[in-house]
Symmetry: C3
Subunit: 140 residues, 3 copies
């Protein structure tokens, strides 16, 4: 039984959805030592999120951005929290809709993702800095 | 301390929301050996999801399908990813809204669900095949 | 390696989003014994949820309530499950959108949350009783 925990910062990304599977995995080489286990990936922010989705066609990520902008519009007349900019309150709501952590099975030293699954960083702010991530690995 | 991991395929379901608690649990009898622990249930796909919701009245599942079809419509004018059919891009978005995994406490050899909680398979494609699931059990 | 599991009831909250980080953590003092680990927080209900979001400005929680009421309206003409009141079916949908559990890293005996992250109880019913929570702690 092993526990590993690594905290690192992903670089700043522009607003939108970004495939970061390799950047996350490369920070946690200890995955390779686990036969059966789980990887928990956590983002320490309230205006960005993590999700798993299609890793092949980049237009899927473009369509995510379009759809979430429509489903959670800026400048809704009922927003009271607006002093940090028009992108701020929608960013909070999108972060909770998509979630702030992922748990992925580890099998034979690898993240056991489906063929088409990749890790998306969901960046909802217009001008974000890098984002802090903690990955916790456990297994045997 | 024990770790168990089982991968299996749920049969093909029609588009919609389906109660699969028993089908999932029956594939992992090892839950019965765990006194305190967690079950992690993961779907290896990007156009289907898993959620917990009401296990009694089947019209709840019908209303989920109606609502998600309205909240994430087909043929939105801003979709660029549409060569796999009008149900494809909405399926990806719904999958990320609902999530691709569940973590459920195990207590005294059973999934410790609330009285009204059941596991839903959220099938967002019109003509899906079976769906691959990995359950990882850990506990003592 | 240690496992702890505690079940408790949060008091009844009015419909809306409520910061409960301290109330949750105070029920699980065993977090203080864990150097590296994970806390899993689970709500045993289908019309309330848990999410992480901004812990400072209370208007964020007000805006969450406004936005989810718009995104998941009461009395939608397509709802069939309506005999438990107009707030019931929206409550189920909101619960699945926001999720029913959180997994948070533990580092050096504390929930390793971001500076601005707090635990929200998302209460979607007009007249709910208290809500049952199970926290499962594991780590070393």
């Amino acid at each position: 039984m092993a526990w590993f925990q690594r905290t690192f910062r992903l670089p700043a990304f522009r607003r939108g959805f970004h495939l970061v599977t390799d950047q996350v995995a490369s920070n946690v080489p200890e995955i390779g030592r686990v036969n059966i286990g789980l990887a928990h990936i956590f983002i320490h922010h309230t205006s960005a999120g993590l999700t798993l989705n299609e890793n092949a066609d980049p237009t899927v990520r473009v369509d995510f951005e379009s759809h979430f902008n429509k489903m959670v519009p800026e400048n809704a007349p009922y927003y009271k929290h607006n002093y940090e900019g028009s992108d701020d309150m929608p960013a909070h709501i999108k972060a909770s809709l998509l979630g702030n952590s992922l748990t992925i099975p580890i099998t034979n030293g690898r993240l056991n993702l489906g063929t088409w699954q990749g890790i998306y960083l969901c960046e909802h702010r217009n001008h974000a800095s890098g984002r802090r991530i903690t990955v916790t690995i456990q297994g045997e």
